[in-house]
Amino acid sequence: MDGAKVTPGRTACLYIGAAVLRLVIFTLLPGLPDLLTGRVEISTPVTSFKRLQEGLFLYNHNVSPYDGGVYHQAPLLLPLFSLLPSITRLPIFTYLLYIAVDLLSASALWRIADSGEAGSSALFTSPRREKRWSGLVIAAVFLFNPFTVATCLGRSTSVFTTCAILHAVAKAVSGAPFGAMVAISFASYLSMYPLLLLPPLVLLSYDRQHSGRAIKSAPKFAAICASTVAGVLAALFQLSYLVTGSWEFLPSTYGVQLTLSDLTPNVGLWWYFFIEMFDSFRSFFLAVFWLHLSSYVGGLTVRIRRQPLVALTLILGIFAIFKPYPSISDAALFQAMVPLYRHVFPLMRYTFVSTAVIMYATCLGPAFYYLWIYAGSGNANFFYAITLVWNLGQSLLVCDLLFAVLRDEWEVERPEMVGKEIRQI
């Protein structure tokens, strides 16, 4: 598996296999996509396909899509989807779009894997880097991950964000800082939170510049990157303004994420807190929750300065836990990045436990949601308890990966400690 030769035939096989799998499910089980679209684990208020339909209907009837407070997604998705034939008559085009987006994400992931950035970055080379999986395996793990497939079938719009983030990283590792900044601007435009990935992404692009036209001064590079992102975002906002005719989209999309005004349950940790909270404390805790989420960015970027891709991966994992509206697609994105660190897997200690916890939560989550909503014999605490377990599993995985990467670095600094037992304090 490690030394598998990648031929064009294998590549085509993988992509065709993934596309056929999704198409077969779409056509043989026509009820399944709609069922998955309605699941809170897949569709959050800011990524739901159903809400997109609602926004699209309003948009096509020349009403502001944000009227009614159902649609909370970026305005530029509307012209894109109104170009496609109607989902009720010809759903195949929508399916094909989502499949294509998944394949694009996989190809970006493939490029990241082939760059070898995970094993040896500009400032650090892991002694274990020989042991890694090829891009084919990593792309296959992403494409056949049940969470990825379920997200694709549920037609959550988070796939676009995933694709943009992976392309930003792929551009950055291949020495194209401008492309990376444009891609991350698109991701931020769609979902806002990817903006927090900017610091490690800038560092990654800085480290991987082509030596020919490299900008040596780091502050200058950062300033250019930041202004690129600002410029692209400004252009996208202007375009959105032209499309919808008002600035209403800003509070309806980013405002909802910032203030958590839609309390539909999801797999995250926010909704239950804010349901229970007295209104007078709401703004304080919103600030605390957002501060908590963003505080990881600075810390991880500084601590793992030598491996910016690791910082990116870990931040994505943390987003999947602490975002205001997380879904399984965020978990799928994190799980897509984890196999890049095949070389530190032997240093991880809780892989079985975290995998088992995530699998248990995946099974129990829908069961408890059923007991709460349909059977009426459970209550909200059931589902919230299981989201705690789910996030416990994810945070175990994040911590374990962080531990393994740091231990890998540490063993280079202190070769006499290789293989010795250490104690975490």
Partner: protein, 606 residues
Amino acid sequence: MPRLLASALQLRRDPRILKLPPYVSLLCILVGVAWLFLLPLDRYSRKTYISENALLPGQVHTYFGGSDQNVFRAYKHEVNELVGKSNIEINDKLEPIVKGLGLKTARQNFTYHAAGHTFAGENLYAILQAPRGDATEAIVLVAAWENVRHEINKNGIPLALTLLRYFKRWSLWSKDIILVLTPDSIAGPQAWVDAYHDAHDPSHVSSLPLKSGLLQGAIALDYAQEGRFESVHVVYDGVNGQLPNLDLINSIVNIAGGQMGINIALQEMWRHKGGYPDRLRTMLRGMLKQGLGLASGAHSSFIPYHVDAVTLQPFGEGWQDEMAMGRVVEGSFRSLNNLLEHLHQSFFFYLLMRTERFVSIGTYLPSAMLVAANFTIMAIALWVKSGQPPAGATPPKNKTETPDTTTAPTAAERDLFLPLGVVTLIQSLSVIPLYLFNHAPESALTPLFATFAVLNTLLPPALSHLLTTLPATPTTPHQYNLIKSFSLLLLGMFLSTLATLNFSLAMITGLLAAPLSFVRPCRSAAAKAAASALLTAVSPAVVLLAAALYWGVDVTTVLREASVAWHVCGTYSPVVVWCVWWPAWVAGSVVVLGGRREEAVKEKTT
């Protein structure tokens, strides 16, 4: 504290710790079973009580009787005339009667196909609009033409009609009352309640032309017995083991027992002495019914829609007449009429020991969870074991060094690809029996079952043979450990999920699958044969056959019932048998056959 941690770390590396898990998991199973048998004791079960104050059971005078007796006789006469006629003819006759009471009526057609049979019919229903209500809530009175044993409901239908005529005279109803007359006890109510909640497939079940509000409760009358009766049998099992709110059963017990002096029986325990054996028997019968997940009466299909429902079945020779039965229903309807909100106060998960003793979920769930936990414990233990160096290699000895500098326990790199592949393959194979048994016509079921039983016995040796010949390097004991670990992990995961939905099914499946925790690769051919034979004895096919023999029914009947329940009511027990238990069993059998003799291993390595 640091010393404690250090000693914990030492303990972790102690080889004895790996010997422990099989005993721990055996202990889990034993404690789980013992727990179950403790439940009927007074110390562990509780006395029932009414939680919902609004119900006020037995607090009103019931006036049904007197001249209603004559009305009942007249309706009975009409119904007796209809015996042997077709469904449409019956409805043609009954509809004018109901219309004559001044109610709105409507009909609904349904057709279900299952196991090569067609279940078709027409439901007739009528709505009594509440004089004091706004049609936002309703209570349902169901009377099926035939009960589950295919006896004609000769007294139930006239009694329901009489009751409705009587209810019409009262002005106190704040909820609509819906009378549903169905041709049978399973498909008819299911079609009606599906369509009422717009959850039906319009190509098989037609939509309801007339609707009322949210259903608050339902009572089904199954009164096929002629003559005076002694007690009332309350049937409360819903589809997939869901139960109605305990308050509903308590109210009926209270009204019938306290007010009318009619005894209540549960779970076909016609004579209940109240002692430990009878309590245990009631509980086990309840668990078995819950585990099978079949519909047990006309009320069963209401429960998945969160409509609390029971069937009342008079039985025995006594001095109670039809009017007494009518008064029980009247009292229950008056109680339901009082409800301010949907029944939610009392328990939805309980096991009844007798009419006034029960255990709630907090008390009984640990037993099923312990049984499910035994699989997870073994899965974790096997995972740890598969990371240890092979048995022959000497573990590095460095006890002289200080704990800080001892080598970290280097987990050997595990080859996950083959075990994961095998488990995934077996798991995906399980779709085949599920599909076949649910889609074959009845005539094909017996040969299909025989073929399946034979193939089922041959499958593990075949897979095991493939595993030894196909891969380039022969499968190692570690890989067998991993196969078993993953399959047990899945089993434990599914069962603990299932325990929250259907406790009894999880418990029964868990106990039947319990031997799988303790199988290990056998070395000699004799041991392999013995272990395989033992495992075959607890395979799904053999257990199915044995259960059918024990209860004196045909296997075909069992399979047909399962198929009908799957298509009509959406019972998911077949999924649990074929997609949870069966794959675990196949994986266990493959593991048993996987061991090789020591010499063979050595020869290959040298």
